[in-house]
Symmetry: D2
Subunit: 327 residues, 4 copies
């Protein structure tokens, strides 16, 4: 007979991954706050693609593991159906909103579920052009499937005595790859018997960036109040713009500056967290007659990385420091 006593600290959940769902003619996202670094003003959502992962927890599932008793088990195949059909009835405009809608519906429907965790990876599509008469205009029919950077959202909702509560929520831009061809240095680091890397006062810095953000009020992430919503496209454009205007002494400092800018533009955010990688090329030909150009090549596999969170507290300190410096 299974008792609940041996449950503490055990990981126990199950679910479904790679639940692809594509929706045509989802409600457009309009009315977001426009920022100087970005031309983004909304998404028409003619094609909306998302790859969902759901993980379900609940103490009553223990007997399914220990006794092979499936009587409370919602088949993961049914979870897939549940998610895909709810994309048909979802009347919002964002991945964040869709995940919240589905998570709440799971908890409403199945009392044995205690926690629902959902992740949604955007399947991005880009606009193309078509001719109307002799004029090239944006097509409302043909889209290009992109394999570049994409948005991700995550939510965890738990059933508590006070009802359903959002206990985790984040939004993220994933797999942005940016090269700045010059204006980057890396000098002054520790030199010892393990150091073979030369100092470099002007390298072509090639970074991979994941940028995640959380809201002070998780409800702002949903997008129903678009002025409070932060779009991944805007975060991407801020990253590009700050990179463009900064002489970087390191990736560490670059991501700090991007984070400060994101938090300045969007005070409704609580913090911004970076996962960056360094994939800077190796130089092959340094001097080309009559040219500023150089030839580089792919480095060996090892890559440097950084993980760093920037908070609104950092913004305040940065502002204070800037004021002090200017006095």
């Amino acid at each position: 007979r299974v008792t609940m006593t041996n449950q503490s600290n055990r990981q126990m959940y199950y679910g479904k991954g790679d639940v692809f769902a594509y929706r045509t003619y989802l409600k457009p996202l309009k009315g977001v706050k426009v920022i100087p670094e970005s031309e983004f003003s909304g998404r028409n959502n003619i094609v909306f693609g998302v790859n969902v992962k759901v993980a379900i927890g609940g103490s009553q599932f223990l007997s399914s593991f220990i006794e092979g008793d499936n009587s409370l088990v919602v088949a993961t195949d049914s979870m897939k159906n549940f998610i895909q059909r709810h994309l048909g009835s979802y009347d919002g405009s964002t991945i964040e909103g869709f995940l919240k809608y589905v998570a709440e519906a799971f908890l409403d429907k199945y009392p044995q579920m205690e926690t629902v965790q959902l992740t949604g990876d955007e399947v991005p599509f880009e606009a193309t052009n078509g001719m109307v008469g002799n004029t090239l205009t944006e097509s409302k029919l043909v889209y290009k499937r992109s394999r570049n950077e994409y948005a991700q959202a995550g939510i965890k909702i738990e059933r508590t005595v006070q009802g359903q509560q959002i206990t985790e929520q984040y939004s993220k831009l994933k797999d942005l790859q940016l090269i700045k061809v010059e204006g980057n240095s890396f000098v002054g680091f520790v030199r010892d018997e393990y150091t073979t890397l030369p100092e470099d006062s002007n390298r072509p810095l090639f970074v991979y960036l994941n940028i995640g953000w959380t809201y002070t009020q998780p409800e702002d992430a949903i997008g129903d109040a678009p002025l409070s919503y932060v779009a991944a496209e805007q975060v991407k454009d801020i990253a590009c713009s700050v990179f463009n205007e900064t002489e970087t002494p390191s990736i560490q400092n670059l991501i700090y500056l991007i984070g400060i800018r994101v938090l300045e533009r969007f005070p409704q955010l609580k913090d911004v967290t970076f996962e960056s990688q360094n994939h800077t090329w190796d130089a092959v030909v340094e001097d080309i007659p009559n040219s500023d150009g150089k030839v580089y090549t792919e480095p060996k596999p090892p890559f440097g990385f950084q993980v760093f969170t920037v908070t609104q507290e950092d913004v305040k300190i940065a502002v204070t420091s800037a004021l002090e410096e200017s006095n």
Copy 2:
């Protein structure tokens, strides 16, 4: 003792793959012919990236295989150096031109080489924006590494008694992925005991496209005479535009129409060859109240494909047919 007599019909070549070479400030490509379907007018080549594969043939290499005699063997590591350094001295603007330059240099340098075959895959970078004052303008420093469609070029040059001759040359656009959300049918195909696919008068057609083209005069591919050069970006835009304006009865017919348009825009081309794949989604929710939208999901792994060449002869026949129809 190795003789040459047993050489016939044997495959024998060697070389180097994944030779990545990045060049900053290569000469810009300007002055291409502008076509209605595309806004493309050139490449600034501030970052030019290419992944080269080289394959070398020559009967004198036989002893390296049979006897392990390395005396005529150019190490593939040296080939890598050769390619990367030549990107430093290349003064043209295209992958096609670079490959020709390198291939000729190999044959000039090493008499034991009889054939040189080079393939170059573009490593594509996209423009980003940065702020100059309060104005958002295209950055000349920061580029986004794209993992979407890319250009490829191939060339084979052989040493003959008449000197070096180009015996193969092609250009190609690879891995373009396009979805058209409606306006596509697939009906009227063979129905028998193996048929389970229903007819569909309005499906969201999702295609992968590789589009290759050859020139009547291979020299036109090099790009030194830009008016004769066909850019992969233009071919991509034609594909998008034709897809946008066509009610497709099948992928077969779609690619035929794209091919005809490419050949009409660029009469210097000899033919266009397609490798297309069908990755159309499966429908999950067909009716959504108060919406034209539907929900779809990823199909099982099997994908349909087509390979088809369209020639200038086809253009002539199409024009004749159109004339006859209009009479």
Copy 3:
């Protein structure tokens, strides 16, 4: 001026990934406990391959982010050198031991480092045979690089006032893929309006398994006392063996049973955690005349998964239950 006050709860670390290191003639692993389910008795370590990731934390690194001050920054390129050279001086026999050796060396060498977290993925090699005279024997020279299941280990060591302390340690078998062709059912699960999956009393169950384990005494993981060491090869063999002998009602129950067996064989372990996936095929041809065979095909992308921890407490309960049942 950077202060430490704004540090709380912030993620901040950096490091190097994909640090591949291959060592020939590492000290062999001998003297492990032999179990009935496995023929494994040791590793000759003629080729030892590991892909290491290192992540370094420490409050003094904050100024490198906020001020771009690199003076305390150990370049990640130097970390790579540090790891690879320490594989030369490591005189133990396991990935777990190597990671501990390197982590301690980092903390000894660099006072600004407060936490060192290392992950090591085995790069597995399999024995091949060669002829000695006319006899086929195991080669001591030629190994096959395997891309199948592999071992992983992780360790986190922190600098505390009491000195260095291991605060996390685990070992893991990753990416094992097993199919059992019959003797698996999945029935009795929840049926409602979202259920389209039929019950199946005899399906070919195809599972992916990651199996992790921790030791009550982390030092037992190092392998210097081989009788206390648990090899990934043994865990793999237990998984195969339990799967073979079990009529499975679900993956949930299968992994519970594997976990119980692992913990019974190795009482020095604290717990075993599973990440399982269901990739069971879809049936295509169910009846073949004069054959027990069927034809199946690859399913659509969505896959079910389970995450579950089995503890020594579960073993005690299982033993008690078995006793009660037999009375």
Copy 4:
């Protein structure tokens, strides 16, 4: 109106890829010729997995491209059904035989098809052990999905006035990755201004191998006469064994020697063709006190490759040379 005249030299075919088909309890392969380098004696075929690609040609398909006329088009979805169902009725034991069976069935069924080309990639499964009582024996239920080397076969059958004819047939072992830790040199190659690679008299040679073979009589490939059948497992074992016993001066020579051995063991073969790659590691630590070991790491991406065909004519010459040398 479409005519056939503009067809010459055009590529035109279509088909289906990634048609996965798994069959349980296919007829076992027994009675193959046993060779000294290999313990292989057959396959029980309890799980038989194959990933099929089919490409169909025929001049009558032209109107489907040019006019969008689908009346002769066999949907690729139907081709998938055709292939999978024929795996149910196939009563042989090999991929080669299955492909021939399917190809002939396509031509028998659909008169508009003129050529059928099929490729089949083995989805390999390895045996595992289970306990029967206290004895560990090979399981007849649980198999491990392998992602290592696998067999491939290809066939092309054309409809001619004389009936169906096999115009291409090959078998292949793909993606074998072998490292020999010592006993490999690479010296005496061309040195010039592009050479930076040092000579190496004892490197750890890491090769990737694809090995293809064709039969003098294509029917011998089918496996119905097992004594004439060459199994991919045997070719793999020959490659390992020859590598083990050879001091290699280059990959070129290694693959020649493997080819000669394969052709000696299997005189029914016409030729053997290699696609090899060099992925040899870079040395990091060359001298380790009191050890023969070294530390290596992953090289940069560029890899050398060789393509070479060995024929029965080469065997004759080799035998003659050996005789002359011994005189």
